[in-house]
Symmetry: C2
Subunit: 749 residues, 2 copies
Amino acid sequence: MRIKPGIWLITLLIFLFSGEAYGQSKSLNGYTSEQAAAQYELESRFDGLIQAGNLRDWLKRLAARPQHLGSPYRKDNAEFILSLFQKWGFDARIETFYVYFPTPKVRKLEMVAPTSFHAKLTAPPVEGDPVTAMQEEQLPSYNAYSIDGDVTGELVYANQGLHQDYAELERRGIDVQGKIVIVRYGGGYRGIKPKVAAEKGAIGCLIYSDPRDSGYGQGDVYPRGSFMPPDGVQRGSVLDITLYPGDPLTPFVGATLQAERIDPRDAPTLSRIPVFPLSYADAQPLLEAMTGPVAPPDWRGALPITYHLGPGEAEVHLKLEFDWKLTPAYNVIAKMEGSERPDEWIIRGNHSDGWVAGAADPLSGLIVLMEEARVMSELTRSGWRPNRTLVFCAWDAEEPGIIGSTEWVETHAAELKEKAAVYINTDSNGRGFLWGAGSPCLEEFFNQVARDVVDPQTGVSVAERAWASRAMRTGSAERSPIRLSALGSGSDFASFLQHLGVISLNVGYGGENRGGIGHSIYDTFPYYVRFGDPAFEYGVALAKTTGRIALRLANADILPFEFKDFVNRLSQFIKEIRELWERMRTETEQQNQLIAQKVFALAQDPKLSFVSPDRLNPVPILDFSPIEEAIFRMEESIRAYEEARIAFVQSGSSLSLEEKLRLDRILYKSERALTRAEGLPTRPWFKHFIYAPGSYAGYGVKTFPGLREAIEKRKWTEARAQIPILAEVLEEFTTQVKRARELLESAVK
Amino acid sequence: MRIKPGIWLITLLIFLFSGEAYGQSKSLNGYTSEQAAAQYELESRFDGLIQAGNLRDWLKRLAARPQHLGSPYRKDNAEFILSLFQKWGFDARIETFYVYFPTPKVRKLEMVAPTSFHAKLTAPPVEGDPVTAMQEEQLPSYNAYSIDGDVTGELVYANQGLHQDYAELERRGIDVQGKIVIVRYGGGYRGIKPKVAAEKGAIGCLIYSDPRDSGYGQGDVYPRGSFMPPDGVQRGSVLDITLYPGDPLTPFVGATLQAERIDPRDAPTLSRIPVFPLSYADAQPLLEAMTGPVAPPDWRGALPITYHLGPGEAEVHLKLEFDWKLTPAYNVIAKMEGSERPDEWIIRGNHSDGWVAGAADPLSGLIVLMEEARVMSELTRSGWRPNRTLVFCAWDAEEPGIIGSTEWVETHAAELKEKAAVYINTDSNGRGFLWGAGSPCLEEFFNQVARDVVDPQTGVSVAERAWASRAMRTGSAERSPIRLSALGSGSDFASFLQHLGVISLNVGYGGENRGGIGHSIYDTFPYYVRFGDPAFEYGVALAKTTGRIALRLANADILPFEFKDFVNRLSQFIKEIRELWERMRTETEQQNQLIAQKVFALAQDPKLSFVSPDRLNPVPILDFSPIEEAIFRMEESIRAYEEARIAFVQSGSSLSLEEKLRLDRILYKSERALTRAEGLPTRPWFKHFIYAPGSYAGYGVKTFPGLREAIEKRKWTEARAQIPILAEVLEEFTTQVKRARELLESAVK
């Protein structure tokens, strides 16, 4: 069946060439104006059906007990969620994986010198907040995937435990070999801290929540305020998710019962040394007992002590034993089949497991996903069906290492590579401003959605409020669209984007629900309704946002992707890398001059034990032009594609369904073109060559990761080798764009 | 008598045109090479006679008891110092002034709501540090020149109590009218804090030492380390020294017994509201009891509490009564008459009064001055006499408000205007790096001195070590001279430079003797020999530095001033002001746009009480070209003067003593040309139009103060009026340079 091309391309082009990305115009990318009117009508009904009361009821129910991976209430919740999806008419089921998961048997931390102190390792309950008192059901505080261990050593304070922190210690002549490092939370994924500590020779790692970062230094503590009380502990995984996320024993394959598993002793993503999290009440006596040089100003926290670096008198004994078991993880997967293009999937996910109750993280996002699904099922009653298939996923085992989603992605990799058009992720949600991160081809589309959702507190669009927040920060009143930042890791989009190359988006509201109790026993329903989103109005706003995103993607005549933002972003990335390289050249040169002129020796206080750094090898010339030329050709190709679209529209031609399916597939597989089967040099699970979580950041992205990290690590041969590979990757993308252009050209009558 | 011109001008010119300002060359500005050789021989003998043991013995003796203005031991010390100067053959005497000085009768601070708390207001003694236990003789902690008062009010925390802090409070809708503000030390002269608080309508002001700034947040506290213990209090004056320093009852005239005094009720430099200093032990319960919004991140200190802004439940009662008495201040003045040019004075000063013992502040500098004087007297035994007169001054009453030196300067103003060539100030001294501040015409000269003094810890010159310290900060290994920063206020140079226009210099070592106990009972001999300068090697280095400065200035054939650094500095100042004005234009425009677009309203959390700022009046065009043209003409004039010097040298001519005296006088009176009799617009005591302490900084300098402050205060008419005045001032200076050139031209044979 040939349908009239209508004017969707024209509205698209108007949007494209007017530079409109934020404003009053009601055009919809991927829709004719007639289709847009119908879609608006649908969205209006969608909005009208959303009930804040559901969000509240579900949150209260789901967060009523501790519900971490493997807990009885986790299973109960999964079955509850399944029952709802089934009630709403979805093709829903629980897909179970069996993941290697440690829970504590022995947790002992004591100071053995200069005085004796036994860490309490428990946090007190709060009146009126019953989950905080369910200590039998709570997971005790620990870092999941720490290895077992029994170590005794002097303490060294290493700030946030990142590379630059050890460089600072080395400048002061402090070596952590054989020591136990104590570091504060913050600055990146906690799993990086024991990883670097082990590389530097430490035998143990303690991670504590400094009150400066999350406690009274930020605001009043719970229950008076929203920040971490003295005995609260941030639980959390230390799995090396930068090597691969998911079950540590089943990289590349789903952790089904039958899956082949590697020997736990060979699992590279477990920590190398025992690592354990502490409250600031437990950390204070240790830090206070330390001697050695005073910590640099930026390293000092808000405890009422002088922060010393050690090593010295303070010595601790850490003993950890875990129960390592294959534990069932329950993903709830619910499908609503598309009427016209059932083999194109719009996937919407949020995890469901918490570290304890997990009211904010993740349930505040999950309840929104559930309400979206419920309302869509309501819409089907009046005959509506999505063009494309909608898949709703309530992931389990995200907290221990993004496991539920990763195992599902690995299990269904072949099908997903064919069918997955977009993955839309949420996690926690709160009061405040809309933010988004994801593939740049969705940026214009995302801003059209933000334009059409009203902020519950101010009555302007959420796009306008997000702009106002940026304007306050930058001081510039110039209007600008919301920029999608690049995705690293830390939530369930990771496998979709980085293992498969699925166009992905991560979305939420926040900024006005500041708190510091994440991953503790205090992340509860009573807390959330005081400090998170009391009236669930931002839950409703998120449902309107991600619901619109899903609906528009599912119904669009042609998938509403724009590539010009991507090519701009690529130019920015390579510019950053060029600047990094130039800065390293300058700084190397400068540092070597300072060394040659004995500046370090002369400027240092001889009473302190500073060490003059070693001479650095010079930074060689790197020729980035193959990448820059590939970007240039991509830009040309995108321009030609846009011209072809104009010509196509002007010709009055139309596309058959088969052509639309082909065009859709070319468009959404463009992201696949950015992956390579062999993966990144040191971590083959990561297939995407444009984005990966930094090997020493964890959550934070590195763009052009193979090249950028090679430069950062001064591996010049590897950096040189990456350049032609990246150029090839970009050419693959350009080829996809060219195929889209050819399709349009051939369709011109 | 005509003397041979020799080659001093040639060496000077080589120095000038080689750009040498730091290096190995041993030329001396103002000296022929023969004279330089003799001078070097003299300096070598000078160095050889310095005894660290004297420094130690005198410090121990002078700091043995509390010795604040008006104390018995202060008088005893003055007489001791006098006796030494007399023993060394100086024409020495005590010059006494009678200054209006308050000491506490009633000091009461209590919290009256929400709970009751009585501030302790005493600091415990330290074993082995006897002065700390002499509580009968110590001045209790207080802020001198607070008015008497008895006030009760709610607390508001205003950070450092500066203008921008109140702007921040206003943005949050917090008004201090009728409230008592509590502020932390730091950010400028403490006297600014009650001044601004009173302007904003507060009824009282508490100033406390936050441990972040001076206590355990910086390092271990005394006696374990060098920082402020919990009960320690920084005493200090709150006299408005930006209006005029010195006795509050005798502006413009010396506070002799007979002087006419203004009514204390009319004295404009007393505080307007009662103000009182607190330890952090006494401040903590008050701050902890406060409610209201959480303080911005930069405002938070290191106490283990959430810093709230108030107002709210916390209410305090402050009662202060003082004994206001005319108190004798004993300046010791000692002269060594110049052999050839007795009416040209090189004045060397350091104050002698402390807040308690004052071991570091001021005695660590005073003992150096005394040793310089002793060694010079030794040198006279072998027949040496300075060319010019040397005047040594041990000032009293500096701590209460730079009073001793100011009264002396006001008393001898007429004579000093004629005779004072240079004033060389020191105050505290410590281990570390040489620094200097003062008139730019001394910069080259100062660097020649720094080149010739050896750093005791590294064996390189103190110039090289100071450069290494800068290189560490800037990352640049390029060699550069020590820059003399511009003088504001805060020590005894203030009246010399800013009231009379005497070329001034303030010098010291430091940076490796960090501590936080200034103005407390812990500034003692035992403290200083542990944390200040244990072996007095930097005391010796300072004696070699300031001794050389005095000797070279006293002996020079022609005063060694260079004006090109001054003109460069002026260009920098006007550039800064232009940038300030441009920034204000941009920011005003920007803020008004943000207001017009409702950004403040949209971006703020509606649950917090932010207030959208008012629209600002636009910043008008200001024409700085009259000043820029005056600078240009000055530059031309300096160049012509230098050409005249070359021509003079090439001509083989020579100067008579009378011509040298005339040239000297033109040179040192060049700084007088920068003053005007009417003084600055709002503060006629300040005569210098290039430098003044900022009206809301206190110590920190404002260059082109009349113009800069008018712009900062958005007083555009005043700013416009200042421009031609500044151009005139600069022309006066240019005229002086022209006179120097004419003198040289007329002396050519």
